[in-house]
Amino acid sequence: MSVKFEIANMHVKQGSTLKIKGKIDNDADGFVINLGQGSEKLSLHFNPRFRESTIVCNSKDSGKWGQEQRDNHLCFSPGSEIKFTMIFESNEFKVKLPDGHQVTFPNRLGHSHLSYMCVKGGFNITSFKYE
């Protein structure tokens, strides 16, 4: 998948909330939002897949994928404009989907801050903020 947006040197601490708004391409198969320390060190790999109608989450530690976690609650579709809220807590990530459903994923790497974000595939960010 092609990289759409990449940020380094972020200073997102535990307890922070990231808000990401964007538009899903009309012909998207899926997309990825990665958060972590770098492309090979991901605390959260968040990957909605439209063909499989599922959201796959995983972590990557020094290039090695962890165990996948799947959630079948896919409440958005290609062509739509959506907003995610990602809450970064000490033990887990909480991702609030547009309909309020929450996907949680453990903070397996145990990092206390996030410095890297990357968006890949059929999602175009229109706004990004953290507080």
């Binding site: 040197n9 229109t126 706004s127 990004f128 507080e131």
Partner: protein
Amino acid sequence: MACGLVASNLNLKPGESLRVRGEVAPDAKSFVLNLGKDSDNLCLHFNPRFDAHGDANTIVCNSKDGGAWGTEHREPAFPFQPGSIVEVFVTFNQTDLTIKLPDGHTFKFPNRLNLEAINYMAADGDFKIKCVAFE
């Protein structure tokens, strides 16, 4: 200056705009917002100086082409204060960039590199980006 946020693969096209909001440190001396192709090819180096390099409350703009700085442009307006939240709105065009400051004052800076897209953005100095939006 402390190394701040770096964003790449932005693919901002002529006619599109970028809104950046962030916090200026309470003891700010200077901050930088760079836009361009990469760190050596900048169509806009936007550098408000509170008290730096012999300048007081002045915005210095420049371009960087293949690592070489162009001619500095000094903008007398300075609607920035240490310890505040500021928002800068930049519209990218084939011929120039229009910069809108927090008080609504706007000015243009030529697109000297003739870039067809802005793919790189970096913040530096006493400024912490909190929000980026594309329009």
